[in-house]
Amino acid sequence: MVCEMETDQIEEMDVEGLSSMWPEDVGTQADNQFNVGDSDTLKEVDIAEKHTMADLTRLPELMNTTDQGSSQLTNLVRQWEYMQDHAVRLLREELKILTRQREEAEAKELKIIEEHNFESQEPENVPVLDETSHLFRRFRQKKRDELVDRERVVIDEEFDTVAYWKQKALSLEKMLEASTERERRLIEKLNESLKTMESHSAPVEELTQNLKRAEGFLHFILQNAPIVMGHQDKDLRYLFIYNKFPSLREQDILGKTDVEIFHGGGVKESEDFKREVLEKGKASKREITFETELFGSKTFLIYVEPVYNKAKEKIGINYMGMEVTDQVRKREKMAKLREDNAVRKAMESELTKTIHITEETMRAKQMLATMSHEIRSPLSGVVGMAEILSTTKLDKEQRQLLNVMISSGDLVLQLINDILDLSKVESGVMKLEATKFRPREVVKHVLQTAAASLKKDLTLEGNIADEVPILVVGDVLRIRQILTNLISNAIKFTHRGKVGIKLQVISQPSFANEEQKETSVWICCDVYDTGIGIPENALPCLFKKYMQASADHARKYGGTGLGLAICKQLVELMGGQLTVTSQVNAGSTFTFILPYKVATSDDHSDDQDEFSDMVDHHQPEPDDTTEGYFQFKPLLGSIYSNGGSVTGNNFLPHKAMLTTPLKLTNGFVSDPSSNTGQSETVQVENGGYMDESRQNCCPESAHQYGNGNGRCSSKESESCSSSQASSEMESELTVSSPREEEKTETEVKETSQPKILLVEDNKINIMVAKSMMKQLGYTMDIANNGVEAINAVKDSSYDLVLMDVCMPVMDGLKATRLIRSYEESGNWEAAIEAGVDIKTSENDQACVPPTNRLPIVAMTANTLAESSEECYANGMDSFISKPVTLQKLKQCLQQYLQ
């Protein structure tokens, strides 16, 4: 009961709710010894004496043999000695008092004797303490005087009478009696003092008392402290333990080491720690977490100090452990909380930063996209004009400069297209189309296109595994874009050997998501080359934007550095993966894996639309759908064709061959926003159309430029000399010579007299233009404004329209728009809506829809950059800047009338 109260109290006092170090239920189960011990403890507190759970026989031994022990003993002895000294001093003082009293008595006696002439011959009393004898004498002298004064016997009888002597004798007797009495009492007192002195002189008993008190105090403090104390010898065997684990008996602990007693985590550590302290001879503290079967997981703060004997030799350690499990737990909890807090804060700041960056990035991207778009429009005008310019009469240097201009312009255009593409993918605007297509055809066409512009001695090959489905569904435009990009990349970095595409079906890759797992067939596409390869350290940044393998490469090979980034993004957008392996000087292989849905092959409608422009309707090629291997070898020197096709198929129809791949690529890339297959097809068709016409006229025109140049220079030199020499003959020559040549040209063309319509309101311009046309051997119809032009176009079919832009009634742009609208819809409703008075007669044969796109060339007096874009935007094919010259007109006609 008392015990319970005690613990209750302690628990109440313990603010932190500190529990006992040892589990509470252990003792009851273990044995009674613990309970007994506990109640004993309480008793011991009361009586300040404790039954320690220690080896009592060893403890004194320990005290005797160790430094600390001996110093404590010394302390006790010193204390005792001090007490003894004190007692001696007290006794001495008392003795002094007694001595004085005796002196007084003696002095009185002496006086009496002197007074009564009782001369005694006996020697002076020798003081008890010899050493103080002269002091004593002095005192005696003094006291004697005092005494005489003070205690002089007063006798009222007459001196020297009997009565007087009697009286005197009587009083003296009395004094003597008193003196004797005093002496007796003093002796008694002295005896008493001696007795007490004797009792004080028993130190052992006192020491024991003190020790007991100290011990009691210590026990009182320590018994409920979560502290275990012990002493271990050099071998770390316990010699003494206090507050051991309750279920262990002393014999279980004493004489054993930690390792022998406990098992589990921390035991070894603590043992090692103790040993370390023992070796180093330096006290230290450490926190050790024990994980034992006996008392579970507890953390102790252990203090260990080495113990030396008197010879300063280590004989063991004292060790004190304090259980700090809860504190450690709390501390760890706090640390964890703090850590969590810090992490959360860091994450928050990171997040806000990311959000900020994302916003910034989005804004920047948006701006980039907008800017790119804004740049693209005028730039395409510049490039277009430069291309037109390149078809004009130029000397060698001018042509070189122009070529640089065009290629730079193309590069910038490509870059802008790439940027637009990329920002579309990144902003998630880009949508994927699911169209049916034949992978074999795609590969073939990509290679064909590449072969057409190949200027190196490379073999291009395509290898498609048999199991690749004939028809699959995917975004063929993007896939082509990727393939074209990778192939042109491969060709760019390959100087000999081959470049190829390999298609094969693979099992579902690990990165496939649930959705993809359903109906897909996974096709792995390798684009390999035998080129310069990529060093391993450049691989990581290969797919990064604006990065190339190295600055050297960028300088040497050019390019925007966006191609691969776009490829990667596109592939990832389609749920695939793009990887690369490479070996320097041996080649690179770009591999992309994409999921496709397999289409049933009986529905060909989609994909024929897709490629009708490419394969040129002329003849069906039955092999095409299943053929698994293509090879293109350019015949250098001739116009780059695929004459060496191993399969013998006419893969590269003339028309396709002449189509420049760059233009086609541009056709693809230039307007990714038009996502429908339809418009894309139109786009390609247009591109093809324009290029084709340009290409077609190219060899011829080049020839003519040759002529023109030759003629021109001769004319120049002649006229020059003529002006200097002012010779009549020469001037005659100069006048006649160019004319004749032009006439011969004209005659050739007159065989196929094309119909030309000039739409112009200025009479003088008409006159000039007409005259020029005449000189070039053409005649033409005239319309004075847009409305007249529309009516003229409606009534007869023209091969070319030259359209002034700025005209009264209706300007050239609007007229062109309406004509284009008619071409698309087959009717003139748009024109009628616009208020054009169409002179319709229902049975007019011209009402049949047009078969071809009518080339309309603008004639504009405005500055080039300003209105070229406007012209293109309104459906014009090209333009001539005013004033119209013979040369410009001739080029225009050559371009559109061949």
């Binding site: 120049e716 006229s719 020059c720 003529s722 002006s723 002012s726 009549e728 001037s731 005659e732 100069t734 006048v735 004319r739 309101d761 200025n762 009479k763 003088i764 311009n765 006159m767 000039v768 005259s771 020029m772 005449k774 000189q775 700025c806 009264p808 007096a861 005013k882 004033p883 119209v884 010259t885 013979l886």
Partner: protein
Amino acid sequence: MDALVAQLQMQYRNYTVSLYQQGFLDDQFTELKKLQDDASPDFVAEVLSLFFEDCVKLIGNMARALDQTGTVDFSQVGASVHQLKGSSSSVGAKRVKGLCITFKEYCEANNYEGCVRCLQQVDIEFKALQTKLQDMFNLEKQIIQAGGKVPQVDIN
């Protein structure tokens, strides 16, 4: 006789060059000359007379439009200026063309004073050009009368 022809030719050449150098004419005039051949021997003269007629008519139009006491219809003036610009550009009347460009800007800016000033200058310029070209044609005629041939003048 030959000496006379040669002298006239020399004079003609110098005169033509001076017209170019003084900025009355530009390459387009050369173009125009190229178009003149045996089939149309008076082509340049025809075009130019048409041009001058046009000028008179257009300048008259502009003057009338600008002479309005009330609000001036600048777009109407602008249309005439545009016409004149096109014509002058076609014949290579460089100074007139240049003036037209400025004139047009004034029109677009609805700058009445600028327009009037330009109109006056255009009138002066076109008349000056007319005189110069008349002189040139006269020279040509003299050369032909003297039995010579009008030389091709290379401006560069």
